[in-house]
Amino acid sequence: MKKKFIGIAAVAAALVLAMGVLTGCGSSSSSSAASASASESASSAADSGAVFRTLDEIKDSGKLVIGVFSDKNPFGYVDENGEYAGYDVELANKLGEELGVEVEFVSTEAASRVEFLQTGKVDIILANFTVTPERAEQVDFADPYMNVALGVVSHNDNVITSLDQLGPDDQVIVITGTTAETYLTKNYPDIKLQKYDTYASAKTAFENKNGVAWANDNTEVIAFANQGEGYTVGIEELGDFDTIAPAVSKGNDTLLAWINETMEKLGSEKFFHADYEKTLLDVYGADYEDTLVVEPGQAAAK
């Protein structure tokens, strides 16, 4: 009897502990009471200034810590000499130069970008970070420096420039779980979709003319069309515009203000066009420069 009790007590205690630790680390958008208390303790840490470094603290340390992708060519990657390179990295280096400090790169994954900022492990995230309302609750976004939208690529003998062109039997290829799938299902329920699980199978299906068009992020379809002969991106921008922007820890106003100020200055110098020409031109070509690039402060003029 006693033995059994110890076993049950131990398992129960283990579960309680495990739950406590799990919720402590859970996403702060969760509405459960346990995680609310966890985020309270996080924000109290923020009040004491422990979570992020202000602009002056960064200047004093002489080092700006920036989270980038290290395997997303051509936005953030590591070249054959072990140096970080890419569109995002150019901006990161420029920011370091403007501030007069050294840049330390941290390799981040898509899934851990928000956590890195919320715990102040990096000062800025420059990892192709798309601005969304959910993320804006957890981090502070600066002015955008790039556009993303959906794009539709089709074969040269039947270029689709508008979705109205699609006949009743025409099928559009999408990859499951992408924004393209959700957008088309929601806004164009009449279009027949052909869904594939991976990029590779969707690509093969499109090349074999299983569908008349392929809808995906415009950066993806543009890169695809530029690599092979016989394909045209008939629709460059479809659906809601999303933007890519630098992000800082929530409430780090001094750093945010400085980034916006600096980016506006860089925008007036057409820094981002130069950046595009240096890093993205080979992949996307000159035709898409004005579609993809945003010069901060000049966006209204576009």
Partner: protein, 225 residues
């Protein structure tokens, strides 16, 4: 070479970067393995205690190690500690903490198993020969227990080495991440690099784990006589 995409290995410092990445993985696993073996032996002895408090503690610890994926533990130590207590632990140290936490738990359980599997008559015979408790452990119990431990603990060690590929999630650039970086950096010029690079990584893991297996079978043979 081009067909397998192995040419990318000889571009710039790519090969040196791969080896550097391998060293990061090996370093993290070696330090954790040493900590796991030393503390695991002690924890294993602790687990055999009949004291109810000791049993609850070891049971809770072992269940946490078994239930929690290493990735979750890593996020808890690396991000959670900063969030809750404001302690900033470096990614490498966080990985070593998590791998040791896991290793000590599993190693302890193996040691407990090995110790309890020693038949009672071994202890009684030792006592009959006039040995005290320390002598019994030193001459009778530990030699037999260690022999049983070898295969299982080698299994644990090689699993720990292979699991280091998870540390990329908290920003440590180890061999797997370097491989992915090289593949992506050459996505346009040599799309086949994916085969070559992952093939090389496979060989690297093999040549790290294989000597350990050889050592284990050598020890097993040596001690079976």
């Amino acid at each position: 070479m081009e067909l397998l995409g192995l040419d990318v290995l000889f571009k710039g410092t790519n090969m040196a970067r791969m080896l550097g990445g391998l060293w990061v993985a090996v370093e993290i696993s070696l330090i954790s393995v040493v900590i796991s073996i030393v503390l695991g032996l002690l924890f294993g002895v602790f687990m055999t205690w009949k004291n109810p408090v000791a049993r609850v503690i070891s049971r809770v610890y072992l269940e946490i190690v078994r239930i929690m994926p290493q990735l979750v533990l890593m996020f808890i130590v690396f991000f959670g500690a900063t969030r809750v207590w404001g302690i900033n632990i470096s990614a490498e140290v966080s990985s070593i903490i998590v791998f040791s936490f896991w290793g000590v738990g599993e190693m302890g359980d193996l040691v407990r198993g090995a110790l309890t599997s020693i038949p009672k008559h071994q202890y009684e015979s030792a006592a009959a020969l006039g040995m005290n408790k320390a002598q019994t452990y030193y001459h009778i119990v530990i030699p037999q227990a260690v022999r049983q431990l070898i295969p299982m603990s080698i299994n644990l060690v090689t699993r720990m080495i292979k699991t280091t590929s998870l540390v990329m999630m908290i920003g440590v650039v180890e061999v797997m991440k370097v491989g992915q970086q090289i593949i992506e950096a050459n996505r346009m010029v040599s799309p086949n690099a994916v085969f070559g690079i992952y093939g090389i990584i496979l060989l690297m893991y093999f040549f790290v784990c294989w000597p350990i297996s050889l050592l284990a079978s050598h020890l097993e043979k040596k001690w079976s006589n």
